[in-house]
């Protein structure tokens, strides 16, 4: 019995993103980073990254500036809450929809 044949005979799941789909659609508020206040963005130094650390979904990069993957960000606001510089603002998703329109 080959691996795939066998895998189909039982619950054999393979790793991949988006098991729950694009979880960005769960979001009501969108975290937006103010690069003028964000410590690494402002100082151009690898520093802080509390948003990266505490993000439950691992969808913020440890880069200058940090980038949020809105496809998957569930909008929990932990990043905004934990940002020591208050650089992350939560914005109503509806505003972006209006803008797109």
């Amino acid at each position: 019995m080959g691996r795939l044949t066998f895998a189909r005979k039982k619950s054999h799941s393979e790793p991949g993103p988006g098991d729950a789909g694009k979880t960005g659609s769960w979001r009501v508020l969108r975290p937006v980073i103010d690069v003028t206040a964000c410590i690494p963005a402002k100082t151009k130094k690898m520093a802080c990254f509390n948003c990266w650390l505490y993000c439950p979904d691992g969808i913020i990069t440890r880069t200058i500036p940090p980038i949020i993957d809105y496809d998957y960000c569930k909008g929990c606001e932990i990043c905004a809450e934990e940002c020591p510089a208050g650089a992350i603002r939560m914005v109503e998703e509806t505003e972006f929809i209006k803008k797109e329109q």
Binding site: F6, R8, K9, K10, S11, H12, S13
Partner: protein, 397 residues
């Protein structure tokens, strides 16, 4: 090599010859001497295996499930309430398609406590998706254990090798221990299609939706129902594989020829007794007596109970005028489970034999040959007034 030993020791030697790699077990009468023997083999270095002294039967099967998922040949054994304590794991092992071999040393189940033989324990697990084999003597136990590993690994379905507590487990009989080299030729090392591996990660036994769903490549993967359908289909196919394996075994070891059922004097029989386990051998003596009396009696022991070899059973039984099912278990409030299966198998026949159902030997009640003889003779000589009603042998009300 011929030895005179107990049925439990026969089973232990089968496991040793099969080179089981992980053994987990918890003591329960009458299974205990089997795993004691295995721990002795491992301790003495006669067997290269991990012997895990677990803290419960539930964990015994958990160890086997996990070890098998990680690519090891695994074995456990239990009896009665131990098997029931495993119940959840029994079903799990089948759904996870793991080729675990487990000896069930048949014992009645509580309450009230009994340590003696009947078949209620393994019969209660008949719908779990395992293959169930029943042995009649020590030679069958050791041969069956070796074949069970091969069968389990061929079809990725766990196998229960059931044998009667005390009657076989603790009784000494002569049997042949096959040569290790011959067994190695018969049973190659376990090579699973997939084993847990950090280089090829997979998440096994995850929640599975009622409906089908695309996988990461976009191909549709089965839903729960398809996975379960696969198990059923593969179990049905295993009936044929049991026969092939029996033939292979016979070629190597010279024993076999009865993969599904073991009929005795059935060809011209008017009335055939059907049963599981060592009882079918005891009934051979009864058949001999009835034949001396001029009655065309026969007995058909089932070695394979799940998957149920209904076509084979039909072929063997359909020509008879009557069938007498002797059972050491029953579906309380209905009839013997085996009897129900036999009736279902015969339902399609044009002229169906009558089917009588006798319950015997629950909780180790002595099964006296004279009692069997009386019941069987009664079925042979006065079939006209036979009904479907369940009858009990040896009951002292």
């Amino acid at each position: 090599m011929y030895v005179i030993e107990s049925g439990n020791v026969a089973a232990a030697n089968g496991v040793k010859l099969a080179r089981a790699q992980v053994i987990a077990a918890y003591p329960i009468t009458p299974q205990t001497p089997l795993t004691e023997k295995l721990s002795e083999f491992v301790d003495a270095g006669e067997m290269q295996a991990e012997y895990i002294p677990v803290e419960s039967e539930h964990s015994a099967l958990a160890v086997c499930i996990a070890a098998s998922s990680a690519g090891a040949r695994t074995f456990t054994a239990t009896s009665a309430n131990g098997l029931l304590y495993m119940n959840e794991q029994v079903h799990w092992a089948a759904g996870a398609r793991l080729p675990i071999v487990m000896c069930v040393v048949n014992r009645g189940i509580g309450a009230p406590w009994t340590i003696w033989n009947d078949h209620q324990d393994s019969i209660s697990q008949r719908d779990a998706g395992w293959i169930q084999l029943y042995a009649c003597d020590h030679q069958q136990i050791i041969d069956m254990v070796i074949q069970a590993f091969y069968l389990a690994e061929q079809v990725s379905i766990p196998v229960m090798v059931c044998y009667d507590g005390y009657l076989l487990s603790h009784t000494y009989m002569p049997f042949d221990i096959p040569e290790a080299r011959a067994v190695d030729r018969f049973l190659p090392p376990f090579k699973p299609a997939y084993a847990l591996d950090p280089c090829r990660p997979a998440n096994l036994n995850t929640v599975t939706l009622p409906d089908i769903r695309p996988d990461i490549r976009g191909d549709l993967a089965p839903g729960y129902m398809e996975i379960r359908h696969n198990l059923h289909t593969d179990l049905r196919q295993a009936i044929g594989q049991v026969a092939e394996i029996d033939e292979r075994f016979k070629d190597t070891f010279g024993r076999g020829g009865f993969p599904h059922i073991e009929p005795y004097c059935c060809d011209d029989a008017d009335v055939i007794a059907v049963c599981l386990g060592s009882l079918s051998y005891q009934l051979r003596d009864v058949v001999d007596i009835l034949r001396q009396e001029g009655l065309k009696a026969g007995v058909c022991g089932l070695r394979l109970y799940r998957p149920f070899p209904d076509e084979v059973v039909r072929d063997a039984l359909a020509k008879a005028k009557g069938i007498v099912v002797f059972e050491k278990a029953l579906s309380y409030g209905n009839q013997g489970a085996l009897c129900g299966d036999i009736k279902a198998a015969l339902y399609q026949c044009g002229s169906r034999p009558f089917v009588r159902n006798y319950i015997v030997g629950l909780g180790g009640r002595d099964i006296r040959t004279v009692d069997l003889l009386a019941a069987f003779r009664d079925a042979c000589t006065a079939p006209a007034h036979k009904t479907d009603a369940l009858e009990w042998i040896g009951l002292k009300l």
